[in-house]
Structure formats: structure tokens, C-alpha cells
Amino acid sequence: MNLAALEERTSPGTAHAPGQKLGPMVRLLTCGSVDDGKSTLIGRLLWDAAGVTDDQRAAILHASHNRAVNGERIDFSLLLDGLVAEREQGITIDIAWRYFETERRRFVIIDSPGHEQYTRNMATGASHADLAILLVDARHGVKRQTRRHAAICNLVGIKKVIVAVNKMDQIDWSEERYRAIEADFAALAGNFDFAETTTIPVAALTGANVVARSAEMAWYTGPTLLDYLENVDPKVEPEDAPFRMPVQLVLRASGDFRGYAGTVTSGTISVGDRVVDARSGLGATLRRIATMDGDQPSAQKGDAVTLVLDTDLDISRGAVLSEIKRRPVNADVIEARLVWLSEKSFDPEAGYLLRTATDLTPVTSMSVSALVDFETLGVTPAHECGVNDIADCRILLGRATALDLFGDLPLTGNFVLVNAVDGATVAGGVITWVQTGAAAVGDNVLVLDRARLAGLCSDLGDSPADRAEFERRAQEVAILLRSAGVPVLIEADQ
């Protein structure tokens, strides 16, 4: 490819009149092993299809000239430069977010390193994505890394995966070899819960099948990468998902306005519907959906709203409002699969908190049961886990909290584990099993209730604010006791 020709090429206009509809936003994870050509592919997509500004173009062309070995090629990967520290010291290989839009859509590219020692970064990045592009080098086909990347995507809930078989130029654009890779991946995907997988043969370097159709691969009749990205429906929503809204805040305003503010994480709700607080089991009827843009007749997944009920349920942050029929489980024991994020390994004696949608619950005890090998997809029994490990674990909670299974309702079935002392986020997990009423109060479990903490909480009354404060203090006490090896259970709502 000739540099001068590229310099002349202008970016297609990407203007949209304000009223004009861009399609839904798509959040795209890109993953591949080092040298698969990920940077080149993203750079290519930006260069060919999106608004790379003139100063950026000039900088890239300039840098490409400087470092060009053959003096011809633009180094598209230069569009993705990183942190100074990363460049200079090679530390904190992290996730980078990039934004671009084409004629039809707004895209967010979440770029994370693929190597095994960055499993945690990839899992973190993947948790924000609607779909993933898995890069495969056409010369090498589906590798252990590919398997691991697919497994991480699956773990955090990605439902649609694109396999970009890159460097097709290096295998003479061979349909036969491409089909073999396609079949290998199809077999692999059978292990996971993906709703849709698509394989596309590309050459990032020449741009073949990235934005422009490739003459060399006339045998390929599927979409180009951009075609696919501009047309895919990023969301996979079950038809009739149950309503959930974790309460973030109770809003009070003049005229005795009292509303529960939160984002609907599943299903829909309409004025007049019955809702229930999952923890107390108390029900009420939805009277208003209040927003600054006026009252709404209904709200659906993703809407940030404030719900006004006909009766005061006396709930606070951490409660989950649900439909009556299919409710979350009031769980105090969970099993989960998690990715360990912290450099400090799991410590059974440390104080941890379980951060779910809007609740924060002290962990009474936690044990690791197995480590998962994402390259073989096998499980080995284990009791320890450390950074980048994927582990299965069992967690006893200090009190019950409203939860769903991640496989059913991801946004009320996920969590992060927080170190109670320094606040660090040590792991992210998905709930695979829940049980209620199982953390039986044995002889050795100390129950923290209003009576036991009467002295510490003598200034607290029965208002919602005071109850929240009681719970906060009880949690802090629980953390102290836990770190001294005393198992505790909080009973707040007495």
C-alpha cells in the first residue's frame, strides 16, 4: 500500500444533524494475543470509517515516516497511544477506552491486553462490553489464548462474539484454511452461552474486509467487519424479563415528595403495577414515575428514574424493588465464580464486603473451592486464589441481601468484593447459586442486633436514617470482629 495514496484519502464525513438518529451505542471489546494485529485492526477501523482528525492524521503520518522500515506503511497502531508511565516504564498495562462514530453508530472500543498476566484487565474491560472481537492469527488458528479469551467473555456475560481471522494475506487468502478455523471456533463456542458468533476473514494491514470488501476473498460473502458492527443489535434481552430496580437513594423534596431513585436493571414497570421490596416482602402500587422531563407512564431496562409508591415501604439504599411474581432471592449464602483482581491474594481472615447493585454486605466467611483453567476449561480443587485467577467460591453473608443468579439477571447477579480496611476492589464475580436462611446461627456466631449494640448506638432512634446509620456501625463492628476471627451476623431490621 502506498503512503501517498493514503495521505490523500480523506475521512468520510461523519456529521449528524442533531435530530438525526444514530443507532444504539455499541460497546466493543477487542482482544487478541500480542502481535495478532489488534492495534492495527482498530487503527484501521478508525482511519477508514471514523473521524480521525487532521492533527491526529498528521501526527500518525509523521511518526510512521520516522519509524517506517520500508518507508511505505502507515502504522495504524499509532492511533492508540497510551499512558506515559506505560510507555516509559512498562507498568500498569490497562484498559483503554476509545470513542468513534461512523455514519450510523456511536462506538466505544474497550481495548485491553490479552496476555495471561492481564486476565483481570481483560475481565474488567469485558464486563463493560456488549460484544467482543476475538482476533485470531490466520497462520496459527484457534489457540489456547483464544479459548481463554472466549471463556472470560462468557464469564462476564458477553453474548455476541465476532472472530476476526486476521492476516489472511499471509495464508494466500485461503478459503480452505479459513473454513477450518471457523469450524474450530464453532466447536469451541459450543461450550459457552453466546447468543451469536460470527467469523470474518480480514487483513488489518491492507484493510481487507475491515471497511472495504476484499477482492482477494471473493469467496467470502458475509459482512465486512464494519457492516456487521453497524447492523448488529448490541443487546440481547429476553422477551419477558422480570422487573428489577435496585434503590440507589431515597429522594425527599417539598410537598412531602418521597421517591426511590434508581436505574431499572431488568424488565419494565408501569404506573399502577404492584412492586415488592425483595428483602421485607412488603408490597405497594406504583403511583408515579417521576423525572425532570415530566412523569412517565412506564420505564424499562436502562432508564434512570424515581419511583413514587402509594404506601411507604420504609426502605433505603440497598433494597431491590421487584415485580411480585418472580422475585430475587433473599440470600445469605452464595456460590460464585470470580476473577481475582488484587495483587494481594485471597485471605480467609481478611474483612471483605460484598458490593452488589446498590447494597454493601459484610462477608461472614468465604472459602475458595476450585480454580478454573480457562485454557483447558477444566476445574481443579483449590483453597487459595490470587491475582488473575478465576475461582469458584462460597460466601456466607453477614445478613441476607436480595440477589439473582447472574445467568438469569446479570445486573442483580454480579458483585465486586471489597477489602473492608483499605476499600480496594479485590475481585469481581458472578453469582451461580444462592441459598436463603442457611447461614444458621450456630453457637459460635455472634449476632449483632440493636440489643447487643445498644451502648454504641444509644443515640439512634427508629427513623430510616438512624436505621441506616445503625447498619453502617454494625458493619464496621462486624469487620473488626471478623478480622479478630469472630464470625458475626448482623440483624438490622429488628
Binding site: 456529521a15 497510551g82 425532570m292
Partner: protein, 301 residues
Amino acid sequence: MTALTSHLKLLEAESIHIFREAAAQFRTPVLLYSIGKDSTVLLHLARKAFWPAKPPFPLLHVDTTWKFHDMIAFRDRTVKELGLDLIVHTNHDGLARGMNPFDHPPSIYTDIMRPQALRQALDAGGFDAAFGGARRDEEASRAKERVFSFRAAGHTWDPRLQRPEMWQLLNGRLGRGETVRVFPLSNWTEGDVWRYITLEKLDVVPLYFAADRPVVERNGQLLMVDDERMRLLPGEAPQTRKVRFRTLGCYPLTAAVESEAADLDAVVTETLEARVSERAGRLIDHDQAGAMEMKKREGYF
């Protein structure tokens, strides 16, 4: 609801979610209000997040005394109309030492009058969280910024201190001495900000629209002569040109662009077709490679 396109609706809901998470988890938040278009959107989203209650935090403006006059007028009008609390902080110590944008290199002047002033104000107010309007699309080192960005004691930013953020979950449990910057507009682009302003019919500082203004051309950049304090170099004479600003800051340090875009629609069209990235207009950024990250490490944001 308003006629927001699906992607703006999603961004709006996500920002409201972030505001609410922060308000619920931090004790004494404050909103850094810098008067520009991003602050305008930030403030509008804050109002939506807590409506019908008012946002449960004050606004903080770090005033260098060299802001455009139109900015200050706009700030005071906005705060009054919405009935919000505003804290204005100036680094008087810096002023007393004669700090100004002419006699000192922009980076030194800016460091003393903005990040240092901001740290003073945050410490004075005992704020544990500060909302800012930064977007990840602004600059390469921002591309990795978190929504909850942690600062160690002394407001220093350390990449190793940053917490992984998974799904919609935001962990705001502070360690000892830590404070947080919260960025509800993380996933917005400059184009989104303008589209949102248009669709929500938000008022912005008139400097964003092209008008005849007195400017001088210096090193290929157009600087506006906003008042008599502007120092002209030998041979420089203000001339009237039709210009507007893509970002706003201290007038002697903010370059204008020639433009005919005199209303919102025209600005949006121009922005979305822009061939030069937004930060090219901020003189301070040309100082050094990775300037933004250096500033961040020093506690600018």
C-alpha cells in the same frame, strides 16, 4: 421524555446513575463547575439525578481572575436562576506573588492558579468527592481514566491506586486519606455534548458562538483581547474577526478559531465535521508530551 436519540438516552441514564452512586457513597461531594459546555451538561445531569430535590452538593468554581468576562456573568446568572450554592475560590497567595499568564510560562501559571487552587479549595471544604466534567475522549492519557478516580492524601494520582471497575458497580469505599474525583461524562464525546445541549435546549456561554471579537494573532493562534489587562507584543494591534471558542479557560491562554457558526446547529455541524481535535486550542497542552498525565499526577483533576 425528550427527543434524545437512543445513544444519548443511554449516556444520560448512565451519568445519572453515577451521580446517584456518588451522592449515596460519599459524605461531602462537590461539583467542580468550570462554566464551559461540559460543566453545563454536568450540572444539567446533576439536576436530573436528584429531581425534584436539588443536587445535594454545592458548586465549586476555581477562579484565576483571568477568565473571560462572559464566563463569570454566565456563572452568576446560572447559579441564581437555579438557586444553587456556589463556592468561588481563588489562589490569593498566588495572586499576591504576582502570578499572571503573561510573565510566567503557561504551565507554571496554570499549575498555581488552577490545580493548586483546587487542592486548597477541596481541603478547605473537607470535600471527599469532586464531580468533574472530564471525558475519556479528550486526550490519550484520559482514555484509561476511571469513573471513580482515587487520589491519595495530598490529591496525588497514582496509576497503581486506581481500582478496577466492573459492570455498573462503583465502589466508593475510601481508604485512609483518600478522596475521589468522579467523572459522570466519562463516556461522552465532544459531539455528544453538543448534541445533548441542542436537544435539551441548554444555555451555554455565548463565546462558543461565532461573533465579531477583538483578537490578536500570535504564533499562528488567535487570542481574544477580553479586557485592558491583555498585554500586546510590539507591533500587535487588535483586529476584529469572526471567531468562536471550542474550549473556555483563561482568555490569554485560550485560542479562538475563525468560524461562521453563530448558533447551536451550526456549532454542532462544525464540531462533528471537525478536522482538528479539541485540545489543540488549549495552549498549555503543547508544553510537553503527556502533559495531561503529568498534571493529573500532580492533582490537577
